[in-house]
Symmetry: C2
Subunit: 329 residues, 2 copies
């Protein structure tokens, strides 16, 4: 199983972790995916475990010369769709950073390419595999809280000093698609409901000279069957915090409430009578599962349909904030 | 100091608590404020401490005969404004359940009456006095989190079996004004920002045969200076829970984050470096402070202007949910 990596801007770590101990798969090549993107440090890491891996400066050439089984795309966010389409065009399985596109035009184009390709595709919605989210999700799917009615999701990150590609909408795509995509994915994944409409706000005020980058954002989703969900996003987490992010979700159902916070999952239901900690599963990884699916030995929790649908929701939420209007699905 | 109570549907407990140990004030009369409202059990409680208190069946007659210094209005929610206007008309200080009105027409009418009255007015936004909210608010006002940028507020109640006046919009006024008013007050009180617009959703699905009563609701407020706030409201708290409500707020500032949950207040800032518990103040009560203000010995944390403004925000948020549109202030 031959793997190529295009770009080192996103969560390529999912790939390195998913490959651990897998002696039947190897990284064959690395290349930038965006103009001005550096992949030197990723390449030097990869060389240690895969001495035969080659460094390219043109991803099309790499794909043509190495003809990998899987291509990983994680370059500047505004280029995901363009690069990914070159992968799909060549009939290569695709593991791609989320959002898979940053405009509706790019998303439509990519979907069409995918439909014709016959390959597998998964976006890096890797937080589904965080043990606390997986435990909470399984509990909801087992019916422990009855029917999902209301959700409150939160992403809170440290800002720090970010590279230039974060500072321009064109390369960055916006904070709702980049940071919010995880939370927008959770509300879809936990409820299993389709989106009906979204109303959002975002601002780059107080962004410490990060150009276009929005540091606070809020989304209000209406979903099927009058299920509602808030998504709160910020880059305001104090630098002194031990953990980079403060991810949370609260899922309110007809029979109980599930919550994730501080890397723990809790269930409060009529049956439990109080807030109880859920035991956390281990051992699953998103790229590991994607590899299994390529080998026809399993299934990744993130489907191509999920990847496209969550990206659509991200773009529509950003559109709502940009244009200050309710956007319908 | 003579006090009369009209209705026993709302938080008259604030009055009983605020009067404890105050030998210069007494309750002189009790009467229903709404058609079909029973005040027997309140009257029998009051008789123990105030044997001279009289029971009336007509609030106008009680006001005219007893001519109290303060009238307390807490009848069916749809009648607050009408009853309160009779109090103001007579130049009597008014302590009134929130929302002070359930329609914009009633609110305008009441404001006009107040402007002409020359008396004091405070709505029962008593959760400002809960030690955890007071501690959190003081910390924010001391500048410990810098400038407020994003807020997430939550009200979650048990539903139980509620009286008939909860089941009709006309008498109840809606869940956003009744339950949500506290949270809508917090976001205004913590930020000190005016509201710019609101977008809301609510539904009576899964309300266990409670007629019009909405059991889940979500509001998205845009405030001055691009401050955003979510308000999540539900009646889905499991009956098995020890506490009736699960009140929370998260206030994200440019220098730190303050949170209230589980009757505790926390500060996380660059200075603290981790989440620290705030010490909780004690000894203040909303009606005690209102009495002090009437006696010119102090000031209530809730002003007449706050009471009207928060009520306006509640009604506009409900209007947004009813009509599925963004409502501007």
């Amino acid at each position: 199983m031959k793997i190529c990596i295009i770009g080192s801007t996103g969560h390529y770590n999912y790939v390195l972790e998913g490959l651990k101990g897998d002696h039947a798969a190897r990284i064959a090549g690395v290349t930038p995916g965006s103009k001005g993107e550096r992949v030197d440090s990723l390449y030097s890491i990869i060389k240690k475990d895969y001495p035969g891996a080659r460094l390219y400066d043109d991803y099309c050439r790499m794909l043509d010369e190495l003809n990998p089984d899987i291509a990983v795309v994680c370059c500047f966010f505004g280029d995901h769709a363009k690069v990914a389409s070159e992968v799909l065009k060549r009939g290569i399985h695709l593991f791609v950073e989320k959002p898979v596109a940053t405009t509706m035009e790019d998303l439509h184009m990519l979907k069409e390419m995918y439909d014709k390709s016959g390959v597998l595709l998964a976006a890096m919605l890797g937080l589904r595999y965080a043990p606390w989210f997986l435990a909470a999700w399984k509990t909801v799917k087992e019916g422990k809280i009855g029917q999902v009615r209301l959700m409150n999701a939160q992403k809170s990150y440290k800002l720090g000093n970010r590279g230039e590609h974060y500072k321009k909408r064109e390369t960055y795509g916006g904070t709702i698609p980049w940071v919010g995509s995880h939370a927008i994915d959770w509300i879809y994944w936990f409820s299993g409901k389709k989106f009906v409409s979204v109303y959002s706000s975002h601002t780059n005020h107080f962004n410490s000279e990060h150009g276009d980058l929005e540091v606070t954002a809020l989304c209000h989703f209406a979903m099927e069957d009058e299920v509602f969900a808030s998504v709160s996003i910020d880059y305001m987490r104090p630098a002194a915090a031990r953990e980079h992010g403060d991810d949370r979700i609260r899922v309110v159902g007809t029979k109980g409430i599930v919550e994730v916070r501080s890397s723990e999952a809790y269930l409060f239901s009529e049956d439990t009578g109080e807030n109880i900690s859920l035991s956390l599963p281990g051992g699953q990884s998103i790229f590991g599962d994607f590899l299994k699916e390529v080998r026809k030995e399993g299934k990744c929790l993130v489907s191509a349909e999920d990847s496209f649908y969550v990206t659509e929701a991200c773009i529509k939420a950003r559109m709502s904030a940009d244009e200050n209007r309710i956007v319908y699905f």
